[in-house]
C-alpha cells in the first residue's frame, strides 16, 4: 500500500490550508501568468520515472518479491494479459488512484492541459501493470489508476496551486510549498528542482478559483445496522468539504474549473472513511447569465471511495444532468438543485457472498441517479438534502446485481465568526440479488453531530 491514514491526515490538513489560504490571497494577476512551453516528452519520462522509482523502492527498500521484475515476468504478463486482483479495498480504490494522480500531474506540471495529461495516467498505469509488478496485470487496477488518477490528479493539482502563493516570501512561502507537496508531490518536486519554491512571480489561474466554500467538521458519528440506531457504534470523526469555484459566478473554461471534494477521517473507525470528488468536464448554460433563476447542463467526472466498518462502496463514473440555482429574497440566499444520471465505468461494492478469493467485494459497471437540494446563504451551505440510487452489475466476484441508495439530510447553524453546529441523518441501503444465492438487503442508518468552522468567498458576480 503506497499511502494510508497518515497521508490522508496530511491531505486533510492541506485542504484546510487551501481554504484559508485562498481567503487571504485573492490573486489579481490571473491574466499575467503564462505556463512555459509544453514538454510532453519530459512528462512521459517523468511518469515512467515514477514507476521506476516506486518499483525500485519496493524491490530494494522494502524487499518485496513482487517488485523483482525482469524479462521473464514481462513476457509472462504480455502473454497472459488481464485478470482481476484480490487486493484490499483501500489499496484498489484509494492507493491506486493516488498513484495515478502522480502520472497525471507529471503532465500538468509540464504545462499540459487536463485532456493532454489524462493519457499519461493511462500510460503510467498500463506500464506499471505490465512491467512494474510480477503479478499479472489487473484490469481493475488499470481502470482505477487511470480514471481515478485523472480525477484526483486534477483536484490535487488545483488544491496544490491554491495552497502555493508565488507572491509570498519567507517561512510562510516555505510552509505553503511543503503543504502543497503533500497533495501534489510531483508538482512540488518539479518546483523544487526548478527553483520555484522561492521565486516570486505571478500565480497560475488555478490558484484563484473565484468563489469557494470550505468547511471543517469535528464531531461524532453513530452507525447502526439493519435499519436501527439502537445499537449503533460511535466514533469521533473529522470531515473536510471544499467547493472550488462556482459555475454560476465564473464561466466555465477548462475541466475542473469547478469541483467539490469531501474527505472524512475516523481515527477509531477505519481511518480514511470517505473521499468523494466531482469535477466539471463540460457545461452549457440553459438560461440567461443575468436571469434570477439559472440552469446549467453539466457533465462531471466523479471519484468515490467509501470505506468504513459497516460498508464499502466506490468507483469511477461520469455524470450528466442539470444543476440549477434559484435566487431567494434579495439575492444573497439561494437554493441549488442537481438532477443527474451517471454511468459507472467500474464500481466496487461489498456484500455477503461478494468477492473472490481474499477479496470481499465485487467489481462491475453500473448506472445511477442523483438528486439534491441545498439552501445556501453567501455561498455557505445551511441545509442539504440528497438522494442517490446506484446499480452495479458484478463482472468479478459474485454473480450479482447490487442496488444501493444513499439518502441524507444535513443542517448547519452558524453561531459566530464561521463557527457552527450541525446535525446529519443519513442512510445507506443495499439490496443484492444473486444468481445462485438468496438475496440480501441491509440498511445502515447514521447520525452525525458536529461542530463546524466555515470560510467562503462569493466572487463578484460578473454582469454581462
Amino acid at each position: 500500500m503506497l499511502w494510508g491514514t497518515r497521508e490522508a491526515v496530511l491531505v486533510a490538513i492541506a485542504l484546510a490550508g487551501a481554504g484559508s489560504g485562498r481567503a487571504q490571497t485573492a490573486d489579481t494577476a490571473r491574466q499575467a501568468y503564462a505556463c512555459g512551453p509544453k514538454h510532453p516528452v519530459r512528462a512521459v519520462g517523468e511518469a515512467l520515472a515514477v514507476n521506476l522509482a516506486v518499483n525500485r523502492w519496493d524491490a530494494w527498500g522494502r524487499g518485496q518479491p513482487w517488485a523483482d521484475v525482469g524479462a521473464k515476468s514481462w513476457s509472462s504478463n504480455i502473454r497472459l494479459g488481464w485478470e482481476w486482483d484480490e487486493n484490499v479495498f483501500g489499496t484498489n480504490m484509494f492507493s491506486h488512484p493516488f498513484h495515478g494522480s502522480l502520472y497525471f500531474n507529471a503532465g500538468r506540471d509540464h504545462c499540459l492541459g487536463y485532456w493532454e495529461s489524462a493519457p499519461l495516467a493511462f500510460l503510467g498505469s498500463w506500464t506499471w501493470e505490465y512491467f512494474g509488478e510480477r503479478f499479472r496485470p489487473a484490469l481493475n487496477d488499470f481502470i482505477m489508476t487511470s480514471f481515478g488518477g485523472a480525477a484526483l490528479g486534477e483536484v490535487f493539482h488545483r488544491v496544490g496551486a491554491s495552497i502555493r502563493d508565488n507572491h509570498a516570501r519567507g517561512s510562510g512561502r516555505f510552509g505553503r510549498e511543503v503543504a502543497a507537496l503533500v497533495v501534489d508531490p510531483v508538482g512540488g518536486l518539479n518546483r523544487l528542482l526548478n527553483g520555484e519554491w522561492s521565486r516570486v512571480g505571478a500565480n497560475p489561474p488555478e490558484h484563484d478559483p473565484g468563489a469557494f466554500f470550505f468547511r471543517f467538521h469535528v464531531g461524532g458519528r453513530f452507525v447502526g445496522d439493519s435499519g436501527s440506531l439502537r445499537h449503533a457504534s460511535g466514533a469521533g470523526t473529522v470531515i473536510t468539504d471544499l467547493s472550488y469555484g462556482d459555475p454560476f459566478v465564473r464561466s466555465f473554461e477548462r475541466p475542473f474549473d469547478n469541483f467539490a471534494v469531501r474527505l472524512q477521517l475516523t481515527p477509531g473507525g477505519g481511518g480514511l472513511n470517505l473521499l468523494q470528488a466531482a469535477g466539471r468536464l463540460y457545461q452549457h448554460e440553459l438560461s440567461r447569465p443575468d436571469a434570477r433563476n439559472r440552469h446549467l447542463f453539466v457533465v462531471n467526472q466523479r471519484y468515490e471511495y467509501v470505506n468504513n466498518p459497516a460498508y464499502k462502496f466506490g468507483g469511477q463514473s461520469v455524470e450528466a444532468g442539470i444543476v440549477s440555482r434559484w435566487r431567494l429574497w434579495r439575492g444573497d440566499t439561494h437554493v441549488r438543485g442537481k438532477l443527474t444520471g451517471d454511468a459507472i465505468v467500474l464500481g466496487a461494492i461489498d456484500a455477503p457472498f461478494a468477492g473472490v478469493g481474499a477479496r470481499t467485494y465485487d467489481f462491475g459497471p453500473g448506472v445511477g441517479l442523483t438528486a439534491s437540494l441545498v439552501l445556501e446563504r453567501h455561498q455557505v451551505n445551511i441545509l442539504e438534502w440528497y438522494n442517490r440510487l446506484e446499480y452495479v452489475h458484478s463482472v468479478s466476484g459474485a454473480q450479482a446485481d447490487h442496488y444501493v441508495a444513499f439518502t441524507g439530510l444535513e443542517g448547519t447553524l452558524t453561531i459566530a465568526r464561521g463557527m457552527g453546529i450541525g446535525l446529519c441523518l443519513s442512510t445507506y441501503a443495499r439490496a443484492s440479488r444473486y444468481t445462485d444465492k438468496p438475496s440480501d438487503n441491509r440498511e445502515f442508518p447514521e447520525l452525525r453531530v458536529f461542530f463546524t468552522w466555515t470560510t467562503a468567498r462569493e466572487a463578484p458576480v460578473v454582469r454581462p
Binding site: W82, W84, L139, V395, S396, G397
Partner: protein, 198 residues
C-alpha cells in the same frame, strides 16, 4: 485483404484522385472498417489463456470537437465460429462486441491518430447444437478500447484508414459446456482497414 481491395475499388468508382492533402476535420464523420483479429480470453483462477483468430468489424461515427479531437461512438464486433476453450475443440461460436464512447486524437499535423474509449461490452459463446450440448451463454460488462491509426485522404470527403486496436471486454462469469468460467476478460486485437466519410 478483402476490405482493402473493397476500399480501393470504392475510391476508384467514386472517381476521386488521391491527393497529398490533409483532411480538414470538421462536422460529422463516419467510418466503416473491417479486418482480421484475434481474441485472448483470460479468466479468474486460470493459469493459461485461450487464444484464437477471427474476423472483426466496426462502425464509428461522431462529431468534431476541434481539428485535432474527434468524439464519437464505436460499435465493434468479433466472431470466431471454430472456437473452443480446450485444445482442438472447435464446437463453440465465440462472439464479442462492445459499444464505446471514443475519442480520436490527432496529436500531429498528419493523419496519425490515437484512440481511447470506454463503454459497454458483451460476450456470447454458442455451443453448436450438433455436439449435443447446444446452448447460448453470455455475459455483459464493461469495455475499454485503445488504438492507433492513420488516415490517408483520397478526396475532400473520403479517406482510407488503417487501424490497430485492442478491445478489452470484461463480461463476468460464463457457463460453457456445464462449467462456470469465472470473471472472463476477452481481449480482442484488430488490424482493420476502413473508409472514412467526413
Amino acid at each position: 485483404m478483402r476490405p482493402l481491395v473493397l476500399a480501393v475499388t470504392l475510391s476508384a468508382l467514386l472517381g476521386v484522385r488521391a491527393e497529398a492533402q490533409r483532411l480538414h476535420r470538421t462536422g460529422f464523420w463516419f467510418e466503416l472498417s473491417s479486418g482480421p483479429g484475434a481474441v485472448r480470453i483470460g479468466c479468474g483462477g486460470c493459469a493459461e489463456v485461450t487464444v484464437a483468430g477471427g474476423t472483426t468489424g466496426d462502425i464509428r461515427l461522431g462529431g468534431t470537437l476541434s481539428d485535432k479531437v474527434l468524439l464519437g461512438v464505436e460499435i465493434f464486433g468479433f466472431t470466431d465460429e471454430r472456437f473452443g476453450f480446450a485444445a482442438h475443440d472447435t464446437s463453440i461460436t465465440a462472439e464479442n462486441s462492445s459499444l464505446n464512447a471514443v475519442v480520436l486524437w490527432y496529436p500531429w499535423h498528419g493523419g496519425v491518430f490515437l484512440k481511447g474509449g470506454v463503454g459497454l461490452a458483451g460476450g456470447r459463446f454458442t455451443v453448436k447444437a450438433d455436439t449435443g450440448q447446444g446452448a447460448v451463454n453470455e455475459g455483459n460488462g464493461v469495455g475499454l478500447t485503445f488504438g492507433v491509426g492513420f488516415d490517408l485522404p483520397i478526396s475532400r470527403r473520403f479517406a482510407l484508414s488503417a487501424n490497430a486496436a485492442a478491445f478489452i471486454t470484461a463480461i463476468g462469469d460464463v457457463r460453457v459446456q456445464g462449467v462456470v468460467v469465472d470473471d472472463v476478460i476477452p481481449t480482442m486485437y484488430q488490424l482493420g482497414v476502413g473508409l472514412v466519410l467526413r
